[in-house]
């Protein structure tokens, strides 16, 4: 079996497509997370392949299905947080030999193929459909929802995992050398860190609307508070520390106006879900959460970095696509779980959605109001990457758990959890899912 990357036809990139043809006919049921860690410790049982198997098995058990009922598997094949296996570094043969191998010795260690997973999960005897959703879980969820809706699979696992090795973020490889090849040099000689582009969009936003970085503090505090109530998350598991405004604002700059906490902490993690048809989901162990729509943006900036104008145009377009395909309006959202890694772009997503009626330039003022899970306007109840570390998964897990009524200490109480939205990553270019407690 050779696993293809999802074709463009599986994504809903355009406006005017109408209601999604599978609205309410696909459901998420099971959730599985492996324990997090800051970095890989080199043991076979903690490599990215092993934690992925752990997460998948937990999702299967959570849904209460027999493994042989599963006929689909969607995987995000890239697992790096920015850490790569250095060229020439000896391969960890003890780890490699602990698993059934594919042709690539780093499969299961620094990347992940569907073939590796199937070779090491012998209980998955009936998987007929495999596909890659590149990038992050948001993408893979769109692929999974469409595949189940199209009948390519009826009971499908979807998984995203991250590996993190020793060393500083993105500081190896070409960045450590004395010279660059000519083509990447045209844009990469100036040394902007990963959050630089977002920092500039935020700087322009603050200049245009008269806002300040200090106004981010309530959002950051709220996100960490929610994350500490996420038992699957990194901060809750390893460093249960609140993030008070004074500490947030005193942290060192990475690319001013983005500071350390505005950059999500890279971790080892794996998150998995079990999707099925709405009909089959009725017989599973957890309450089904129905997919009302998935939408994508494949917009690219005109030049090096997205301008604020480009960001606002595209987030507004994304909002329209999200609502159109789901047949809902902003008023129907019980909560939002849009992406936050980097924290300084969460407000772009919020404003594009028009969440609680906010318009461009108003989100930071909104952050100064009650955005807690107890209030009427919950913002990022998952806590996102700010609250639980870099995964791009927490937002989706939270949507499912909130709508199932099993978000525990994180459960929203100021609103009735009926419809949620999650997705990302970047304001330009991303994938989004609308979740509902009801198929209607």
């Amino acid at each position: 079996m050779t696993t293809p990357t999802a074709p463009d036809s599986m994504y809903r990139n355009d406006e005017g497509l109408g209601i999604w043809e599978h609205r309410g006919k696909v459901a998420a049921v099971g959730v599985g997370h492996a324990p997090t860690s800051r970095r890989w410790d080199g043991r076979p049982e903690t490599c990215v392949g092993a934690i992925t198997i752990d997460a998948l098995r937990k999702a299967i058990a959570d849904a209460g299905v027999a493994p042989d009922q599963i006929d689909g598997l969607v995987v995000v094949p890239v697992t790096t947080t920015g850490a790569f296996w250095e060229q020439g570094k000896p391969l960890p043969m003890d780890v490699i030999q602990s698993f059934n191998q594919t042709d690539d010795p780093l499969d299961g260690i620094a990347k992940l193929s569907a073939e590796w997973l199937l070779a090491n999960m012998p209980e998955l005897t009936n998987v007929q459909f495999t596909m890659y959703g590149p990038g992050c879980m948001s993408n893979a969820l769109n692929v999974t929802a469409q595949a189940v809706g199209d009948g390519l699979t009826h009971t499908c696992l979807v998984v995203k995992s991250w590996h993190n090795f020793e060393g500083r973020y993105y500081q190896g490889g070409a960045n450590a050398g004395n010279a660059l090849p000519g083509t990447p040099a045209i844009t990469q000689l100036w040394g902007g860190p990963a959050s630089y582009s977002t920092a500039l969009q935020f700087a322009e936003y603050c200049r245009k609307y008269g806002k300040t970085h200090e106004m981010m503090a309530p959002f950051m505090e709220n996100s960490r508070r929610n994350g500490l109530r996420f038992p699957e998350g990194y901060w809750a598991q390893h460093r249960p520390e609140e993030l008070i405004p004074e500490d947030y604002l005193a942290s060192r700059w990475i690319a001013k106006p983005a500071n350390l906490f505005d950059n999500d902490i890279p971790i080892m993690m794996s998150g998995a879900y079990l999707f099925s048809t709405a009909e089959r989901a009725q017989d599973m162990q957890q309450k089904p959460v129905y997919i009302l729509n998935h939408a994508s943006s494949n917009t690219r900036p005109r030049s090096l970095l997205p301008t604020l104008d480009e960001v606002e145009a595209d987030t507004a377009r994304t909002g329209r696509k999200i609502y159109e395909g789901a047949g809902i309006t902003a008023d129907d959202l019980s909560f939002e779980n849009m992406y936050d890694g980097f924290s300084l772009f969460h407000q772009f997503h919020l404003e594009g959605l028009g969440y609680r009626g906010i318009k461009f330039g108003e989100a930071l003022d909104f952050y100064q109001t009650d955005i807690s899970i107890e209030g009427p306007n919950p913002v990022s109840p998952s806590g996102g990457n700010v609250g639980s570390g870099r995964s791009r998964v927490w937002m989706h897990t939270d949507c499912i758990q909130q709508l199932q009524g099993r978000a525990g200490a994180r459960q929203v109480t100021g609103v009735k959890p009926e419809v949620g939205v999650s997705g990302g990553p970047m304001p330009l270019g991303g994938n989004y899912t609308v979740w509902s407690a009801s198929p209607d």
Partner: protein, 137 residues
């Protein structure tokens, strides 16, 4: 601050050759007469697979935006932290952006909106690299 050296490849050779002659060239689509940067194999606007040329531009622009880099992933630049990293809009087409460290501008005192002109600075292996300096009022 000295940037990493550049090893031109066949695609980028015209850009870097022009830089060594202290000329700034930007890729242009012949069919739709539209500049694009960063350069690409095809025109991102008309995408018809037509001819792309390297077009010399005036080397004048405006500071559009900036940040201050305190934690740079590029080893050679780390000793110069913190440093300005600005985005320049070209006069010929404000939609075209280029990066600049803005030599001579104090850290975090970047005059957004000010006019700039291109200069060329040697990188670690001597290849000249386009940079930008503020035009005094």
């Amino acid at each position: 601050m000295t940037k990493q050296g550049v090893e031109p490849d066949s695609f980028s050779q015209p850009f870097w050759d022009a830089a060594n002659e202290e000329r700034l060239v930007i890729q242009n689509c012949v069919a739709c007469d539209r500049l694009q940067h960063p350069p690409s194999d095809t025109c991102r606007e008309c995408d018809d697979g037509g001819e792309l040329e390297w077009k010399q531009v005036s080397g004048r622009g405006t500071i559009y935006n900036y940040g201050v880099v305190h934690d740079c992933p590029v080893r050679l630049l780390q000793e110069d932290q913190p440093f300005n990293l600005a985005v320049i809009m070209l006069d010929e087409d404000p939609g075209i952006q280029m990066y600049s460290h803005l030599p001579g501008v104090p850290v975090d005192e970047v005059p957004v909106g000010s006019p700039v002109e291109v200069i060329f600075e040697p990188s670690d292996n001597g290849q000249l690299v386009p940079e930008w300096r503020v035009i005094d009022g």
